[in-house]
Amino acid sequence: MKVLVPVKRVIDYNVKVRVKADKSGVELANVKMSMNPFDEISVEEAIRLKEAGKVDEIVAVSVGPQQCQETIRTALAMGADRGIHVLHDGDTEPLAVAKMLKALVDKEAPGLVIVGKQAIDDDCNQTGQMLSALLGWSQGTFASKLEVEGDAIHVTREVDGGLQTVQLKMPAVVTSDLRLNEPRYASLPNIMKAKKKPIDQVAPGDLGVDPAPRLETLKVEEPATRDAGQMVEDVAALVEKLRNEAKVI
């Protein structure tokens, strides 16, 4: 079975993000970029399936600017077999990416697509679901455990109050949650070897997709800073403040 794993290049999770002065977005110049952490989890899961003999090829896909090749290389160094880079400068929105992924799925015919549940830059949490709808495939979202058995896949999901396990018929789309696994980091020898693994480059047009944005960003702002706490004399004063100042009761 072949597995397709989309990997997005995002601002590294350790970076303290700053909003641009004109509020049009966040500062990207000279900022460390890395693979979206949920996508790392997806790559790791695909590698574990391969190590367990359930998968024979892992294809990592990234949509974005030229530097996405580094993100794909990271996946290849971890253990993916080859990469596909859809070269696109400019914003990527979930629907356009889902359409591109659908076109690639049609071509590659994987048995499983493991998508991160969300990207930590826009927190959309949409691409996996949109892809499953476009494909008409089953979906198992927010997977914290995944087991492949024959042509079925068991996906355990963390829901309010416990764990829910669903059985999907493959081919399927699964989105990975934080506790699915702890991804390995690539060893240095594997990084050197990954140099030789192939990465194909295509344009959105080759996939029949128009990547033009359909959403307009009006304004990006820093979260409001928290004011210092206040000490109140007694319960009555607290209630008074909650009612008249905070207006929450």
């Binding site: 290389r73 240095l188 020898p189 990084i191």
Partner: protein
Amino acid sequence: MPDNLSTRPPTDPAQQELILAAVDKFLERDVVPHAHDLEARDEYPFEIVEQMKKLGLFGATIGEEWGGLGLDVSTYSKIVERVSAVWMSVSGIFNSHLIMAAAVERFGTEDQKRRYLPRFATGELRGGIALTEPDAGTDLQGIRTRAEKTADGDYILNGSKTWISNSIQGQILAVLTKTDPSAEPAHRGMSLFLVEKNEQFRVTRKLEKLGYKGIDSGELLLEDCHVSADNLIGGEEGRGLQHILGGLELGRINVAARGVGVARACLDESVRYAQIRKTFGKPIAEHQAIQLKLADMATQVEAARLLVESAALAYDKGERCDMEAGMAKLFASEAAVNNSLEAMRLHGAYGYAKEFNIERYYRDAPLLAIGEGTNELQKLIIARQLVKRNPV
């Protein structure tokens, strides 16, 4: 002097970024959480070493044909800087190991390379360099360890070595000896052997230190230790000092990179703390006396890093770089010593407390001024080269 075997093509910047990102992940996950406790107990970091084997660090500068990564020193020094910024001792575990490997790769016979380099690269066989003796450190030509040729052409080694890093947990060392104690000049009678530890080459003492804990520093005794002629590096007597000095340029750049790492760690913690700690109603970063410290510390880090980069670049091109490596080592180690004390002042009592990292940097930094050629010696090397390169 520098032979072009040491030249390495520069690593592609994108590739270098991936390598450094992997090192950062290793540090964050496997070193940061354990460094403080292991260091406090002066305990050898066995698990970290296992992770380092998996990561491939023991083969960082060993050629790809021997199973190493074949990294250029420019990339390697950036790895050393990062590791040292977290815990300097961890870098020591692969640094002198790789100096031993460099001596074999640059000067060893084909048979020696084949027998040892692949196992050095995986970390299966680890070690370091045994030069210093109780009565000779800077003045290596004054060593007393003897290697006497036997009738069958092999050697019998007798003597003692001290302050040898990686000698307790490592299995093999490059040992500097005298094959001809009467040679003039003395270095013509010096030879370097690869010696595996055994009953006749054993550790007699683990040394207690101010800092640089966790990594093993041992005193060793060679007692009628039989060593095959096949283990004389390069197969020819009288070249030992030259072989080891060739590796010491790498060693000096490497210690300089450690200096940058420690100096930067002191700076980073200080910049953070200065914004959090408040006195007289404002963060101490807003007091001019603290700003002056931060500015000086940052400038030291930047200058030290540039010196290391330029020495590493010269080394990678196969150019003579003893003066450049000496300058980088001198400046960066002093930057580490200086910044660790400044960071302590800036942190006040917290800098002095065992709970935090600053006092560890303060105890680790001075080694950089002593090891791999004292800073006094570096100045002599720099001055000699200056005169030699600029004759009237």
